[in-house]
């Protein structure tokens, strides 16, 4: 089990990871999802002890990465974004070297472990090849085989499928799925569909913070498949908002535009029911005649982009202010609140804790939320 508590990493004045907390349970495949520069690689480098955090704690199977680095590192197999290969060695030599590095004793035992891991990573017959001459796909496999050596309980893979052709991608994904049966796997990716197909749990990072977490199904249910209503009504911003918030089954209500006494709202529908009539009625009853109303659906990509981009907007203003502007802000706060009912001011704190609260099925999420609140 990996516990990450309030992890922060700063490079000079730039903050790569800020106050990140999560728990990784044994025997699952975790996906770290986020756009480039979200802090995925930094997080992984800290987990594996390559970088030291500015603040916060990482413990791997109960071993603190700073206090007991050897014990902690022995539990981890790491494949960085660029596989750390010595190009002047052959695959076999390299794997035997890594085996020795990981403390496997005895020449025969090392050769055996290297051969077994090479076979597992699909490198049969490649042992004699110079790494320099290998294709990207085989280099990735060699790195993966090296990560598997020494039988670590946790395998950490940083963007394992980047730069591979589609066939290789599928092979590597199958391999990761296979690994997930015997190991805890953490992989990072900026490809949404990949994480969705491979991972049991997803952590979405944006701008160094945890934006959401849960199983892909939960996230998909929460984020995608939801229809969106766009309505324009006459009246004041407050009146229109109040009326819309009174409608059951709507969440994520945001003011899209406001002009000449017309207010355009965007609201997500939580259930499968059509809420157009209810919304229209509610607005009419509140004295805000509807002048336009349309329905559409949101893709997972849209929501992912929204989630990660909104983080940037939220980051620019102080949290208190963000909380005050709760309702109109297209914040992840509403994402969470929508499953529990209309958003209220009390529910809005940091985006991470919000979304954590929105995934009741996820024990890890619950824990994170508890700590942050």
């Amino acid at each position: 089990m990996i516990t990450v508590e309030h992890l922060t990493k700063r490079y000079g004045s730039h903050t790569a990871v800020e106050d990140l907390s999560f728990t990784v349970e044994d025997g699952c495949i975790y996906g770290l999802l986020g756009p480039n520069g979200a802090g995925k690689s930094t997080t992984m480098n800290i987990l594996t002890g390559y970088l030291s955090p500015t603040a916060g704690r990482v413990s791997i199977n109960g071993h603190d990465i700073l206090e007991e680095p050897k014990a902690a590192k022995a539990c981890i197999g790491y494949l960085p974004e660029i596989p750390p290969l010595y190009t002047d060695m052959t695959v076999g030599e390299y794997l035997r070297f890594v085996a020795e590095l990981k403390g496997i004793r005895g020449k025969a035992a090392r050769a055996e472990a290297a051969a077994a891991c090479a076979a597992r990573a699909g490198l049969q017959g490649m042992e004699g090849r110079l790494i320099r001459n290998l294709s990207k796909g085989y280099r990735q496999r060699t790195g993966l085989a090296a990560a598997l050596l020494g039988d670590p309980g946790v395998i950490i893979l940083d963007e394992p499928t980047v730069g591979l052709d589609p066939a290789q991608m599928i092979e590597i994904r199958t391999l990761i799925r296979d690994l997930g049966k015997t190991h805890t796997v953490i992989l990072s990716s900026h490809i949404l569909s990949e994480v969705q197909t491979v991972c049991d749990r997803v952590l979405i990072l944006a701008h160094g913070r945890l934006a959401a977490q849960g199983t892909p199904e939960e996230l998909a249910a929460r984020l995608a498949g939801r229809s969106v209503l766009q309505v324009t009504a006459l009246g004041t911003r407050e009146a229109v908002l109040k009326a819309a918030q009174g409608v059951e089954g709507l969440c994520d209500i945001t003011v899209a535009a406001e002009k000449d006494g017309e207010v355009s709202l965007r609201a997500a529908v939580t259930g499968t029911q059509d809420r157009r009539a209810a919304l229209s009625e509610a607005l009419g009853a509140a004295g805000c005649p509807v002048v336009a109303l349309s329905a559409g659906s949101v893709s997972l990509e849209d929501i992912f982009l929204q989630l990660t981009e909104d983080e940037a907007a939220a980051e620019e203003k102080p949290p208190e202010q963000a909380a005050e502007e709760d309702a109109p802000a297209p914040d992840t706060a509403e994402e969470a609140a929508c499953e529990e009912g209309p958003p209220d001011d009390g529910a809005a704190q940091s985006p991470a804790s919000e979304t954590g609260g929105g995934a009741p099925a996820d024990a890890a999420a619950e824990k994170t939320t508890g700590e942050e609140e």
């Binding site: 480098n45 590192k73 750390p84 010595y86 002047d88 060695m89 070297f97 020795e100």
Partner: protein, 287 residues
């Protein structure tokens, strides 16, 4: 540590560096040995090594330059630093591999005194003591180079920095003679050192007060010394320069003196720079 040592040593010979270093050292020791000892019928083997010592300036940085700079470029330091191996083992493994390659290059030189012995009777001990000092001198150069490789971002920079540093050490004798004139120069140099120390402390502690404090303390001490005991200042200055003269203890051996002090000096230099290498690696993780 053993794994890193073996891999590192092997990689020196899968590329050209190992052979080039071997060839250069063997060629120059052989050449000088032939000319100075065999052809001129002399038994003075230490002088051969003395003449060869300048070769180390060019050759050894080529061994040490790649040690950490190359790992960093290729990203393989990620493998080492995330493996269950401590930083001391990594540094030691890499350093010992360089030492092994250097020692292999000295093997032909080991035979040379025995060859001389066939023709004349002379003290073998002096010759081998000089060889030992030559080896330790090279080992100290490698330690300096390893540290610079860990600090500098790339190999070429590491080579140039190591060459420059060793060159200054090599010429320290002549530099020292330039600086013996008067205590004012020593005062100025120590003053500059105090400023640098103050600035460094200020930056590292992120406190202007600490930095100014260090500088003020240094300045006061300097002024007091300069007023009361200017001679101390000069001798302290010379002692500092003397400590930087990496080649001096070796010359003592060449002169036929077995100097324990010299051996301790080289071992201390090695330990200091390997420690600094470890710190440089550690620092990179934190910045």
């Amino acid at each position: 540590m053993l794994a890193i040592l073996k891999r590192e040593a092997r990689s020196y010979y899968t590329g050209m560096v190992g052979y080039v270093v071997w060839a250069a050292i063997a060629a120059f020791t052989g050449l000088y040995f032939t000319v100075y000892d065999l052809l001129s019928a002399s038994t003075d083997f230490a002088s051969v090594l003395y003449l060869c010592s300048i070769i180390l300036l060019f050759v050894l940085p080529a061994l040490s330059m790649r040690s950490f700079a190359e790992e960093r470029r290729a990203g393989t330091d990620q493998l080492l630093l995330t493996s269950p191996v401590g930083i001391p083992s990594i540094v030691l493994g890499k350093y010992l591999a360089q030492l092994a390659v250097y020692a292999a290059a000295l093997l032909p030189a080991c035979v040379m005194p025995l060859l001389l012995r066939c023709f004349a009777r002379f003290a073998l001990g002096t010759a081998y003591a000089a060889l030992l000092a030559f080896f330790l001198l090279g080992a100290a150069c490698l330690a300096v180079g390893t540290w610079l490789s860990a600090v500098a971002g790339n190999q070429i920079l590491a080579y140039l920095a190591a060459f420059g540093a060793l060159l200054v050490c090599y010429m320290m004798d002549s530099i020292q003679t330039l600086f013996t004139s008067g205590s004012t120069l020593a005062f100025v140099v120590f003053g500059v050192a105090a400023v640098v120390a103050g600035v460094l402390v200020g930056i590292l502690c992120k406190s202007a007060v600490a930095g100014s404090g260090v500088f003020a303390a240094g300045a006061v001490a300097l002024v007091v010394l300069f007023r009361l005991r200017p001679v101390w200042l000069v001798s302290a200055f010379n002692a500092v320069l003397g400590a930087l003269a990496l080649f001096d203890p070796f010359y003592t051996f060449v002169g036929g003196v077995f100097s324990v002090q010299g051996i301790v000096y080289y071992l201390s230099v090695i330990a200091l720079f390997l420690f600094l290498t470890g710190q440089a690696l550690e620092k990179r993780r934190w910045s």
